[in-house]
């Protein structure tokens, strides 16, 4: 295998094929950058065991992919090794106060505070600005830093987490800095206890002045952004993003799990408010991009790994065997004629019959017959169609393959599934004839549906009375079901105006935010204890109706997709269980129904705005990013492997006794740091000393009890900010520190805080199922359980709180209770 790597040209060929997928001979030559064919052929022949040729295309075979992965790993492995972490030693600190539109001076006397501060060691300058975040101040501030020869800055004002302007300012400053968010973190939450608040602010600033000494040197790095994007999911959202990206000239990969594009909407008859049929609309979008060379559509394929960082994302994509070559299939239908296997067509409720190999919808893309893969064994023993196909498009020996794409941005548009949980059983879906889902209704209503045949086989000549049951969903309102109900109402009425159609809600399951306005003027029934019985018959308290058809109007169900995504990325979810797009890594975007239920129009707008966001990243030739990762103090590492037992991303590997980190995979969550028994690991973005400096200064506050809140960056800290934004008032006796993940809190940190004089420690983390790093919340919880088991004095003094980012009120309440309990004991 290593023979292949002895020459740079051979390595390059492997890389090009691995990164960009199959290429023709001349493409390959050009990309590798070799001019003479003789030389090229020579090297190509040397690596022939790793390459296969199908038709005109060269690609990597299985061994080739292994080799390619090895090459990638080789460059991605490595951890920055340090022996001692040196503090930066800051001696001239400047404190900048922001008046935050006057809100700060209304609450505290800045002059008094400034004069107190100028006595603090190391502080050489204090300056008050009206609004530090207005760009015209940036230059002034820079000059001020230079003039005073400052080597450290403390910015006192609002929270950079929610204020873009402050973030922008900070990105232009190149001395180490700390921020103190007195606005959301104190003033707005402690209005009625000004004395404590003043003390708190003083301690917070002192903490920052000390902590800035340990602030790791920012390791900013400029990365080139490849002008390419991978879009995962070829439904409405994915297609629209793909269309815009292609039109704007970016290299675009559209990866779809099914064999045809379009997603769930392809089954639909129409979209409310749009004149065209749903699948025709999709077909139009698809055909509008097909002619572009810079779009590659990869169907029948799943993404099995996403790694890398901004500037270089790698996606490993597994393509299932393509038994039908779409380029060759002319849809003549000879194969369908000879196919001996017949089965019920699930698309039309199983009332009609289809073959094992079938012609897809006329609007489907790629345009080729489709083989039912669940039953592929039966095909392998028949193969009649393979023989009759005049264009030799069918090949049951086809193998799947794996390709790697390297791109500058990734868009997640995987969509949701239709709800398929317990409520379907409760309402007797298909267990009673005549009870179907709206999805099934959609396919019956589609222009190509053999509706007469379905009617004939279902034993009904026509439907007169139809019940539409709403809110078949457990996670709250899906937003579009009410519009759908109106759509069904109107379509069905158009078919037969004498139909009796009723829209039925179950009283206790109507979401508070349901857009019932959309149903204005329609016959709505709100029923208690809704049930369905044989007939079908709709029953409830004081309600009974015999009808012909019951339609269960399904909501969105993101659960399965979220589980799949969790294997690929560190994601966090909203409180309803959808993907939270704001917490995705830089360069990864999400849109469509996976980020929350949307109507068709909303989907389009969402996709458009996502396309714009992606484009505004890709048009930049380079961006500056903060390098995040872990540092290893090698002299202290015993290579015990404990760090590897918790790493959620399998980033830790051992090579001959030495611990190494795959930089592509490491997300700097810090879980490994908390478990390392020899304290050999450190985060490059936060120094432990920095945290301790804050803690020490906080602990000097005079009041009692004094509480330290360690809040994770994904849920706990945003909740703390949320309380500030909402202006919820609560105890002033708590200091909140931001940490990357609750999993970073180990008992060492907790005991340190308690020894320093805190009366209680509250850890505010995510819910276990929405922890971005999977294990963080759980590990923190187990450590606290254990610490209380062994040391009874900790029993009431350490607590863990699990919440979501928007639960500021819950955060405030929990903290109040905690302080209250400490006061009593």
């Amino acid at each position: 295998m290593f023979d292949a790597l002895t020459h740079p040209i051979r390595e390059k060929i492997i890389r090009v094929l691995g990164e960009q997928g199959p290429s023709t001979y001349s493409e390959l030559m050009e990309k590798v950058g070799v001019k003479e064919t003789g030389k090229f052929n020579y090297h190509l022949s040397k690596i022939s065991p790793f390459i296969e040729k199908r038709g005109k295309l060269y690609s990597l075979n299985e061994r080739g992919h292994e080799l390619y992965n090895f090459l990638r790993l080789k460059e991605g492995l490595g951890v920055k090794r340090v022996s001692v972490i040196e503090p930066t030693r800051v001696s001239r600190v400047g404190v900048i106060f922001c008046e935050c539109h006057g809100e700060v001076p209304r609450f505290i006397n800045l002059e008094e505070l400034s004069s107190k501060l100028s006595e603090v060691e190391n502080i050489v300058a204090v300056e008050v600005f009206k609004n530090v975040c207005s760009p015209e101040n940036f230059q002034k501030i820079k000059k001020w830093i230079e003039r005073n020869l400052l080597d450290g800055i403390v910015v006192v004002g609002c929270s950079p987490e929610i204020h873009n302007g402050l973030r922008e300012l900070l990105s232009t400053i190149d001395v180490p800095y700390e921020t103190v968010n007195i606005l959301e973190g104190c003033i707005r939450i402690n209005r009625s206890s000004p004395k404590e608040a003043f003390e708190k602010i003083k301690c917070m600033i002192n903490g920052a002045v000390r902590a800035v000494n340990f602030k790791p040197k920012s390791s900013r790095r400029t990365v080139r952004i490849p002008k390419s994007v991978a879009i995962i999911g070829g439904g409405v959202s994915g297609l629209i993003v793909a269309r815009y990206m292609t039109l704007m000239g970016f290299e675009t990969y559209l990866i779809e799990r099914r064999r045809t594009l379009g997603g769930r909407i392809m089954n639909w008859s129409s979209v409310y408010g749009e004149s065209d049929c749903a699948s025709c609309m999709m077909a139009e979008i698809i055909s509008s991009v097909l002619e572009f060379k810079n779009l590659r559509i990869v169907t029948n394929s799943e993404v099995t790994q996403i790694s890398g960082k901004i500037g270089d994302f790698q996606l490993i994509v597994k393509t299932n065997p393509m038994y039908v070559d779409a380029e060759r299939c002319s849809l003549c239908g000879r194969c369908v004629e000879v196919c001996p296997i017949e089965k019920p067509d699930e698309r039309y409720l199983g009332f009609t019959v289809r073959k094992q190999i079938a012609i897809p919808l006329s609007t489907a893309y790629p345009k080729a017959v489709v083989v039912d893969e669940h039953d592929i064994q039966r095909c392998l023993s028949c193969r009649k169609c393979e023989e009759v196909c005049p264009s030799r498009a069918i090949n049951f020996d086809a193998k799947g393959m794996e390709s790697i794409y390297r791109v500058g941005a990734v868009v997640i548009a995987v969509g949701c599934e239709n709800y398929s949980g317990e409520l379907l059983k409760k309402f007797k879906h298909r267990s009673i004839t005549g009870v179907i889902t709206n999805d099934e209704l959609e396919s019956l209503l589609s222009p190509e549906a053999p509706i007469e045949e379905v009617l004939l086989r279902s034993g009904k000549s026509r439907f007169k009375k139809i019940a539409i049951i709403q809110c078949i969903n457990e996670i709250g309102c899906s937003k579009y079901c009410c519009i759908l109900a109106r759509k069904y109402f109107e379509i069905l009425k158009k078919m037969d105006s004498s139909m009796d159609i009723r829209i039925i809600f179950e009283e206790n399951r109507i979401p508070t935010d349901a857009p019932l306005d959309n149903l204005k003027g329609l016959p709505i029934y709100i029923v208690k204890n809704l049930r369905i019985e044989e007939g079908p018959k709709v029953l409830g308290d004081e309600f009974e109706w015999d009808c012909d058809l019951v339609i269960l109007n399904l909501g969105e169900d993101p659960r399965k997709r979220i589980m799949e995504l969790k294997k690929l990325l560190d994601i966090s979810t909203t409180n309803k269980g959808f993907l939270n797009p704001d917490t995705l890594p830089f360069g990864i975007f999400a849109c469509g129904s996976i980020t929350g239920p949307k109507t068709y129009r909303e989907l389009i707008y969402d996709a458009q705005s996502t396309a714009l966001k992606v484009a505004s990243l890709l048009v930049k030739s380079e961006v500056t990013v903060e390098e995040e990762g872990i540092l290893l103090d090698e002299g202290n590492c015993g290579a015990c492997g404990l760090c590897g037992t918790v790493c959620p991303f399998n980033a830790i590997k051992f090579f001959r006794d030495r611990m190494t980190v795959d930089q592509f995979k490491c997300k700097a969550c810090g879980l490994c740091i908390a478990v390392c028994p020899t304290s050999a690991l450190h985060l490059s973005s936060i120094n432990e000393e920095e945290l301790l400096a804050f803690m020490d200064e906080f602990s000097k506050a005079y009041f009692k009890p004094k509480v330290l809140v360690l809040a994770c960056a994904n849920c706990g800290y945003p909740a703390f900010i949320d309380a500030g934004v909402k202006g919820v008032e609560y105890t002033a006796k708590a200091f909140t520190l931001k940490i990357p993940c609750a999993g970073l809190v180990n008992s060492e940190l907790i005991t340190h805080a308690l020894k320093r004089g805190f009366d209680g420690v509250l850890i505010a983390g995510c819910r276990k199922d929405s922890c971005r790093y999977g294990l963080g919340a759980e590990l923190a919880e187990r450590r606290i359980e254990n610490i209380q088991l062994f040391e009874s004095m900790f029993r009431n003094r350490v607590k863990i709180l699990q919440l979501s980012a928007v639960e500021g009120r819950i955060f405030a309440k929990a903290l109040d209770d905690f302080v209250h309990n400490l006061e009593r004991s």
């Binding site: 590492c637 015990c640 492997g641 028994p677 180990n746 008992s747 590990l779 450590r783």
Partner: protein, 247 residues
Amino acid sequence: MGIKSLKIGFLQLVGCSGCLTSIIDSTVFKEIWNKGYIIFFPMIKDGGDIDSCDLVFIEGSASKRDEKLLKKVRTKVKRVISIGSCACFGGISSNVKELELKPIHSMIEVDLELPGCPPPENLISTLLYALISGKEFKHKTVNVCSECPFHPCKAKYPIIIREIFPKGKSERCLLEEGILCLGPITRAGCEAKCVVQGGSCYGCMGLLKSDSLTSLVDFLALLAIPKELKYDVVNILNLYGKREYVS
């Protein structure tokens, strides 16, 4: 080197003589014996006055009765060194509950501690050499795993533990096999001899982090361990752990 003559004494409190035997076996001991530094060694050399020593090594844990002796030693002797896990943490001997045995440092201040049950001979030699030549003795900062042939542990969280002690010799990291091993949180120096010989590490070299409770808690949080076994672990650790490490 600089030091012309030294007076060294060895004291035995409640211990099994294992530590003293290891000391005798160590290479540097022979050297200092030949030089005549040793003026007091239980059952081998007597007569010298322990109070006049520059250095006193103590084996075994102390009971209330020993307090007077210890205090006297402390006031007269320049450097007091606890040797072996009994002297450092209570160790095996503290299993004798009736005597209420305690580690030496809980009664008097100790200048240096060398744990191990018994302490490895090469460490004893290094320590003795450092003391007679005026050099600094440094404890290792890595864990027992670093010396174990089976590292790194390849298990995944949660590490499922079924047994406290191994039943037979293992060819893999014990944690992967579902057997408790305290190697990761225990200070290196013993060449992981227990694991090599088919046992598991029960932490006689003492816990690595200064606050033993924390390393214990954080380690246990990684294990899925039946509740009844959890208390066995705590018992083991009570012999070698629950204390502040003095070095």
